[in-house]
């Protein structure tokens, strides 16, 4: 797993208070990890802070799973 994926996973575990094993790439923040809409706002902010990236609102709305987040951040970092 990439460094970015590791860090994303850690942030999700910390913010949503879920077990690490549940944070699979396919896991949906809302459907599988018990997040509500405010939790996802906070998560995106935590990603922005941790990776020093800007995630605009329209992009944030499309980040539904752990993989979505990893992919988006990796793309930003590669750019």
């Amino acid at each position: 797993m990439s460094e970015i994926a590791d860090k994303v996973k850690k942030i999700v575990v910390e913010h949503l208070g879920v077990e690490e094993s549940k944070v699979t790439p396919e896991a949906s923040f809302i459907d599988d990890l018990g997040a509500d809409s405010l939790d996802t706002v906070e998560l995106v902010m935590a990603f922005e802070e941790a990776f020093n990236v800007e995630i605009p609102e329209d992009a944030a709305e499309k980040i539904a799973t752990v993989k979505d987040a990893i992919d988006y951040i990796e793309k930003q970092k590669a750019a």
Partner: protein
């Protein structure tokens, strides 16, 4: 012998079937009560932050440690994930409300029962530390990084909100904000909701957590806090004593479960006491100081006695507002005026001498102390009352608790803005 007639007749009776408390004397109603009766103090040097820059350096803080030792381990009560979404005053309220609801044994099953169960837990100030932290974030130009939980973490009515969500209580969801009178207003108003049929059960009380730099500095600037006992914290809260020099801030929460009497009886609930009287008034005088003679307090107490249908002779114990400020003697004078000759047999103490002043939670924990005073026939002591600044025929229970016959008790709370509230409780 007292009857429930008089001003009570015809209205739904409201009793207390559950109690919860967390504060400077620890976690849990029975634990706090036994420490209070033993004359212990919950006041110490401030440890939540370094108070060295401030004139007031003592407070009543909730002791942290194992639940089994009567101390607070927050994660036993609120999940770590949820803790970050709430200011500490909400943590306090949730802890006390959980104890109270579980103590009452009330678990509404049907939709109708859930809709007849409401919550009214207030706070004097709300999420002050949360507002402070968020202000810094904005000041640093990081407004876009402000937590989406900032507003719901700071809002006063969110204690009521969280309690309703936790238990599915879908009845009236309300909150009181009347500074240091909040706790009494919440219990009194919630009782009236039951009397009027808006609910059968109400979870009511107050929560506060302002032992933070902004809270202490703010009350320091208002010249309200004790500053002369930083080296001897346990001596700092000394209601009516001639050396008192301001109140000592405390944090915590008190919550009761109020229930319509027949409802409680029908389910075989244990009943601590009945809320029989409630009186309110406004000083219309000054934002922080009571007027000479404290006629506002006098009218609140008189009105509470009238609504209870009792006379001063019936009252065995008064839990005074008694904050350890100059206003203590004005309250004393108002009580003497109201009680007349009956003042001679009265016991009145200020438990703030042991707990500090829990602001919006004070009235709630003190109402609970009144009910336990009735249950155990014990008047809790006023610590540090070495030399009263004003003599009185009223026994202020200096230093040690007293065994006394107490059938009816009165609790006073007065707040900034000139708001006064008194509650009368009676054994059932």
């Amino acid at each position: 012998m007292l009857q429930s007639a008089g001003a009570n007749s015809g209205r739904r009776r409201v009793v207390v079937t559950g109690m919860g408390m967390v504060g400077p004397l620890g976690l849990g109603v029975e634990n706090v009560w036994s420490r209070l009766i033993a004359g212990e103090s919950g006041i110490g040097r401030i440890t939540h932050f370094d108070p060295s820059d401030l004139p007031a350096q003592v407070a009543g803080q909730v002791p942290e440690g194992p639940t089994s030792e009567g101390k607070l381990t927050l994660s036993d009560w609120v999940s770590v994930k949820d803790q970050r979404k709430m200011d500490r005053f909400i943590h306090m309220g949730l802890v006390a409300a959980t104890e109270a609801v579980e103590d009452s044994g009330w678990k509404p099953q049907t939709e109708e029962e859930k809709c007849a169960t409401g919550v009214m837990i207030g706070s004097g100030i709300g999420g002050l530390q949360t507002i402070y932290d968020a202000s810094i974030t904005v000041h640093e130009g990081r407004a876009k990084r402000l937590s989406p939980f900032f507003i719901p973490s700071a809002l006063i009515n969110l204690v009521s909100g969280h309690v309703s969500i936790k238990y599915g209580f879908q009845g009236p969801n309300h909150s009181v904000v009347t500074a240091c009178a909040t706790g009494v207003h919440a219990i009194g108003d919630a009782a009236r909701l039951i009397m009027f049929g808006d609910a059968d059960v109400m979870v009511a009380g107050g929560a506060e957590a302002t032992v933070c730099p902004l809270g202490i500095a703010g009350f320091c600037s208002a010249r309200a806090l004790s500053t002369g006992f930083n080296a001897t914290p346990e001596k700092a809260s000394r209601p009516w004593d001639k050396d008192r020099d301001g109140f000592v801030m405390g944090e915590g929460s008190g919550v009761v479960v109020l229930e319509e009497y027949e409802h409680a009886k029908a389910r075989g609930a244990k009943i601590y006491a009945e809320i029989v009287g409630y009186g309110m008034s406004g000083d219309a005088y000054h934002i922080t100081a009571p007027a000479e003679g404290h006629y506002g307090a006098f009218r609140a107490m008189r009105s509470a006695l009238k609504s209870a249908g009792v006379t001063p002779a019936d009252i065995g114990y008064v839990n005074a507002h008694g904050t350890s400020t100059m206003a203590d003697d004005l309250e004393l004078e108002a009580v003497e005026r109201l009680f007349g000759d009956d003042a001679r047999t009265l016991a009145m103490s200020s438990t703030k001498s042991a707990t500090g002043h829990l602001l919006g939670a004070a009235g709630a924990i003190e109402a609970i102390f009144c009910m336990l005073a009735i249950r155990d026939n014990v008047a809790p002591p006023t610590l540090n009352l070495d030399n009263p600044s004003r003599e009185s025929v009223i026994d202020r229970v200096a230093h040690t608790a007293q065994q006394r016959q107490i059938n009816v008790a009165l609790s006073n709370s007065f707040g900034f803005g000139g708001t006064n509230a008194s509650l009368v409780v009676r054994g059932v």
